[in-house]
């Protein structure tokens, strides 16, 4: 019965046999374009636009040397978030998500391979010229068996737990690490920290062997493993737990249209799920599909008829219908 009603309504709306009124589509378009342009230009003059400077690895190493060295040690030891992430970067498992039996992340495989120790520590250290102590330390580290490297890294990580940052010049901090049985790692990390503070690591991570460069995957993922980006994002209210997806730096409106997408991250069971991203994406795909197919979904397509808003929109039309003799009413 309901299907029949929907079909009737559909047929009745195919063409309009009633009265027309004069309309100038070109004039309407020109006026609309003019009005929009004026509004936008006024908004641009009044409010400008946000442009918060990006973070650099040099800033990170200078302002948070302990966090930098801890992160670099984890990259060297393959215990960092990125080293354990999984596809598309490595063989880890910690960030692999799925929906029921659909394991798209695993199925698509490793398309952007990153060996965290090689990319973030060993290769940048190899590029530092004329440092015999570093060359010897690096050589000692690379010749050592895996178990020894692991022992050094664990000892160094423990020492970092006792390390402290001392204020240095211009907001930078020096790192003081207690002595310990961590082999050549202290020398390696001291060189890496100095290189990073000088900006050398920013350049080294961007170099892909070619002159031109447009892919920032390596430095961005390294920065994301550290604490600087997150600290800044928290200050700007951009964290996932702060509905950050729809926020903007400063007091600007952000991507308000993402409110429903970010909403799923704020409620259980998604909030604490290890598959939260996949679930949020899956739900939004389904909802987008439902929005697309509303004309064919009984119940959803009947909502407008159930709500009286259309009577307000077409109130002039209904009023004119009521004023006309029954026989003269247009057939829609």
């Amino acid at each position: 019965m309901r299907m029949l009603r929907a079909r009737e309504l559909d047929r009745a709306a195919r063409s309009w046999q009633g009265p027309y009124r004069p309309y100038d589509i070109v004039k309407e378009g020109v006026i609309a374009l003019g009005a929009v342009t004026v509004i936008v230009v006024i908004a641009a003059i009044l409010f400008s636009s946000p442009d918060v400077r990006p973070s650099t690895i040099a800033q990170w190493a200078s302002q948070m040397p302990l966090n930098f060295v801890q992160t670099a040690t984890e990259e060297l030891d393959y215990t960092s978030h990125l080293a354990k992430y999984g596809p598309p970067y490595d063989h880890g498992k910690s960030s692999v998500q799925h929906i029921a039996f659909i394991h798209l992340q695993e199925w698509l495989g490793i398309s952007h391979p990153i060996d965290t120790a090689e990319a973030y520590v060993i290769e940048p250290l190899r590029r530092i010229p004329a440092d015999p102590a570093l060359t010897a330390a690096l050589s000692q580290y690379l010749r050592a068996p895996g178990a020894t490297r692991k022992r050094w890294a664990l000892a160094y990580a423990a020492a970092l737990g006792q390390a402290r940052e001392a204020p240095a010049a211009e907001g930078a901090h020096a790192l003081i690490v207690p002595q310990g049985p961590y082999g050549p790692i202290a020398t390696m990390m001291a060189s890496l920290l100095a290189d990073a503070k000088s900006g050398g690591l920013d350049g080294a991570l961007l170099t892909s062997g070619d002159f031109y460069q447009t892919d920032y995957t390596k430095p961005l993922l390294f920065l994301a493993d550290g604490g600087l980006l997150e600290a800044r994002a928290g200050h700007e209210h951009l964290l996932g737990t702060q509905w950050g997806m729809m926020n903007e730096t400063g007091s600007y409106p952000g991507q308000v249209w993402l409110w429903l997408y970010t909403f799923w991250y704020q409620i259980e069971p998604f909030k604490s799920s290890s598959n939260a991203d996949a679930y949020a994406m899956g739900i939004m795909l389904l909802l987008s599909l439902a929005l697309l197919l509303i004309p064919f979904i009984p119940g959803l397509r009947d909502i407008p008829r159930a709500l009286p808003l259309y009577r307000l929109i077409w109130r002039a039309h209904y009023r004119s219908q009521e004023q006309q003799p029954a026989g003269l009413q247009p057939r829609s």
Partner: protein
């Protein structure tokens, strides 16, 4: 650099209510959107009650007659005839419309189109000068501001347009493709804006890319759509996705012109 008259670069004071956490700016946008939607429906439309109405005969637009002189079997001639049959000039550029089209809510389609025009125009200027220009010059920053506010306005009026079309059940009468193409524009536009945020080369881009990668990777999309690759995102933002939006917008407009504006739902007193 051109300064702003009202400084929005200072930290916002967020509003908390249970698990909801909203910035005043976002809340303002949502409230203004609802108010504008309500006003568009409620405010009297000029001429809605006007006695000046054209006869119903204007409704039946003449079908495109075969043009004289078309060579038999000519592919060009057939295409032209098909185009004229589907969309005669008086429908493509009408000088009349059904009398029921008398509400401010109808204005939001053309406003969306106008905002898109400003988005594209300001985007073209930014693209002409390259991605670093707007960080380095005042005029570049101004065009970036125009681009940003045009995008905000574009989504604002597009959503009000979508609400209006939903509550009119505008897919009736063979107009499902018009509705669907509109929804696709909305979704592709979200992707276009997203890649724009990733192409800014500032802290926003760093944070959004390193967060969004998890969502992309979780569905396997990250394997071929790398949000931390600036070059790839810039290509998507300045050519691939805008071209897709514009192509679907053209299709959407042609569908609107071909099928016309959906007639009203049966009102009180109509046969049910």
């Amino acid at each position: 650099m051109l300064g702003s008259i009202i400084n929005l670069n200072q930290p916002a004071h967020y509003l908390h209510w249970h698990f909801i956490d909203l910035s005043p700016a976002n809340l303002t946008v949502v409230i203004v959107m609802l108010v504008v939607f309500a006003l568009a429906i409620l405010l009297p439309f000029p001429g809605a009650r006007s006695a000046e109405r054209l006869p119903a005969v204007r409704a039946s637009a003449p079908q495109g007659a075969p043009a004289p002189g078309t060579a038999p079997g000519s592919w060009t001639g057939r295409l032209r005839e098909l185009a004229l049959r589907s969309l005669p000039p008086e429908r493509l550029l009408p000088d009349s419309q059904p009398a029921y089209v008398a509400s401010w809510i109808y204005v939001f389609g053309v406003l969306t189109l106008s905002a898109l025009a400003v988005v594209v125009a300001s985007g073209v200027v930014l693209a002409l000068k390259g991605p670093a220009w707007w960080h380095e010059t005042g005029i570049g920053h101004f065009f970036n501001s125009v681009h940003l506010w045009a995008v905000e306005l574009f989504f604002f009026v597009m959503v009000v347009h979508l609400w209006g079309k939903f509550f009119m059940a505008a897919w009736r009468g063979g107009r499902a493709r018009t509705w669907m193409s509109g929804v696709v524009i909305f979704l592709v536009a979200i992707g276009t804006a997203f890649t724009g945020y990733l192409s800014q080369q500032n802290f926003d881009s760093q944070w959004i890319s390193t967060q969004a990668k998890d969502a992309m990777n979780s569905m396997g999309i990250g394997a071929f759509f790398n949000v931390t690759n600036f070059g790839q995102m810039y290509s998507y933002h300045v050519i691939l996705l805008p071209a897709a939006v514009l192509a679907i917008v053209v299709a959407h407009i042609l569908l609107v012109r071909r099928h016309g504006v959906v007639p009203p739902l049966p009102g009180r007193g109509s046969a049910r």
